[in-house]
């Protein structure tokens, strides 16, 4: 029998006013895989990601982590489940009044009983893991976009979570940095064996690191397959999306 998926998403529905964003979305995410979620702008990818970690509540449907409904047991259960997660936000979401060191140390200070020296060692180590050194004393505003993403990844990695969610981790970066961040995700994933869910617009670069790719369209999963199969999908909408063609079943609105 196949292993139970780590995260099971069951027929999520979500609407904001009259706008339906998620319309019966179901998806299984397996342990240790890198799942890339692609789709057009405004297809609900970020909203989907926020549902995985309970930042948004679905109108109906469930998110199960290891078989446990994240919204079933109230705020304590949710907090306990969240401890297994890390998240890298679109803009990094670094605390702008804190230095790089304090940003990475923040969850360690608040959630663990580590001593100040231990925390300092972990911070230095995690920064090294993401290829940054000597920036501990800087404020987020003093860093470039790429560096900020690295610091945000370091902050997510510092707690060694089982699952890391990436909300468009490479948006606004140049092509070389895009590949560098992708490489960093792949390397750290191979080292720490976390499960990654990446919402991304970077096609075809994302195929290099994704184990599987899911395409979101009209609030539901249109197709999900291994990266190799996905690229050669027979679905005309998927092909149109990968090639970025104007003609096809997807209309450019």
């Amino acid at each position: 029998m196949a292993e139970t998926p780590l995260i099971q998403v069951r027929t999520l529905h979500k609407r904001f006013g009259r706008q339906v964003v998620l319309h019966g979305l179901s998806l299984d995410i397996r342990r240790d895989e890198i799942m890339a979620v692609v789709g057009r702008s405004g297809s609900g990818k970020s909203v989907f990601l926020k549902h995985l970690i309970g930042l948004m509540r679905p109108d109906s449907g469930q998110v199960l982590v290891d078989g446990e409904d994240i919204h079933r047991g109230g705020s304590r259960t949710l907090a306990r489940i969240r401890e297994r997660f890390g998240m890298l936000f679109q803009g990094g979401a670094l605390f702008d009044s804190l230095t790089v060191e304090d940003n990475i140390a923040f969850p360690l200070r608040e959630r663990t009983r580590m001593s100040a020296t231990q925390i300092q060692t972990v911070v230095a180590e995690t920064l090294k893991n993401v290829g940054l050194e000597g920036v501990e004393g800087k404020l987020p505003d003093e860093l470039s976009g790429g560096m900020r993403k690295r610091v945000a990844l370091a902050r997510a990695l510092a707690m060694h979570p089982e699952i890391i969610l990436f909300d468009e981790p490479t948006t606004g970066l140049d092509p070389i940095l895009v590949r560098a961040i992708h490489r960093l995700i792949a390397d750290t994933q191979a080292r720490f064996h976390y499960t990654a869910v990446i919402v991304s617009h970077e096609l075809p670069e994302i195929f290099d690191i994704a184990t599987r790719v899911a395409m979101l369209h009209n609030g539901a999963i249109l197709e999900v397959d291994t990266a190799a199969h996905f690229q050669h999908s027979s679905n005309p909408a998927v092909q149109q999306f990968i090639a970025g063609r104007l003609e096809g079943p997807l209309t450019p609105t």
């Binding site: 009259r18 926020k50 970690i53 930042l55 907090a79 306990r80 969240r82 401890e83 997660f85 890390g86 998240m87 936000f89 679109q90 803009g91 979401a93 670094l94 605390f95 702008d96 923040f106 969850p107 608040e110 959630r111 707690m159």
Partner: protein, 274 residues
């Protein structure tokens, strides 16, 4: 909300049409107001609950005390001084008509201690610190820093709201008292130094007429305002709408709502305390 197409029997007669429509509008307004009050209430219960549940973020509380309190000192001193001077001047001319300028001291002191000190310092703090609190939390909301706290399994209210409320509760009574003291000195400058009331009368009659009750009432007011302002500004910032426009709207609303709420609450406190 989508407006319902009226049923046929309504459409026949336009005068019967307007009543359900108006009722619908009023109903929607009431529901909106109730849901707003409900959200405010829940947020307040949650925040106040966390004030009493350790760990308190002492460093953040001290930082906010410095921001709300220490950095408001100049503005409080200036407004206090001039308010006292105006009271001295106005009070003197009003009291001379009744030949009772000997009571200038207590008149100035009681107005400042029970009313103007707490209220005006609360309004000044709203303008200076309340707007900044709302904007800071609002920016944290739109840049997903609040979400980041939640994702870390930490309660954002504990980190962002509780320190402001505790700081407000500690600092507002001190600022209100300072306002009153400086104001009384301002009244002395005008009444005694400029207009010639004797210094002994100014302070002596103050000791006779100003009671502990006045000081206690002023303190209660300051405490209530400290809670009210910090809470409302945090609430508005925490529920900011998207983008720069959302933050600017939240900031404006925070200041307007807090200022109005201070004056309304002041009336009700007066009617209970006096």
């Amino acid at each position: 909300m989508a407006r319902r197409t009226p049923p046929r029997w309504e459409a026949r007669n336009s005068s019967t049409n307007i009543v359900p429509f108006a009722l619908g509008r009023i109903g929607a307004l009431v529901l909106h107001l109730l849901s707003f009050l409900g959200r405010v209430g829940l947020f307040l219960v949650q925040a106040l609950g966390l004030v009493f549940v350790p760990p308190l973020k002492i460093q953040r509380i001290l930082r906010q005390m410095h921001f709300i309190g220490a950095r408001s000192l100049l503005v409080i001193a200036l407004t206090g001084l001039f308010t006292g001077m105006v009271l001295g001047l106005q009070g003197y001319y009003t009291l001379t008509r009744f030949g009772s300028e000997a009571y200038l001291g207590p008149a100035v002191a009681i107005s400042l201690i029970t009313e103007l000190g707490p209220v005006l310092s609360a309004l000044m703090v709203t303008g200076r610190a309340g707007s900044a609190i709302a904007a800071e939390i609002g920016i944290m909301r739109i840049t997903e820093q609040i979400d980041a706290l939640e994702v870390m399994a930490l309660n954002p209210i504990r980190y962002l709201v509780v320190p402001n409320i505790v700081a407000g509760l500690i600092v507002m009574p001190l600022l209100g008292a300072l306002f009153a003291v400086i104001g009384i000195y301002g009244g002395y400058l005008i009444g005694v130094q400029l207009l010639g009331v004797s210094s002994g009368t100014y302070f002596g009659s103050m000791r006779d007429f100003v009671g502990m009750t006045d000081i206690r009432n002023g303190l209660y007011k300051s405490l209530s305002f400290g809670l009210l302002i910090t809470f409302l500004c945090c609430f508005k910032g925490y529920h900011t709408g998207p983008g720069a426009e959302g933050v600017s709207k939240a900031t404006t609303e925070a200041v307007v709502l807090s200022s109005v709420a201070v004056l309304v609450l002041d009336y009700f406190l007066n009617s209970v305390l006096l």
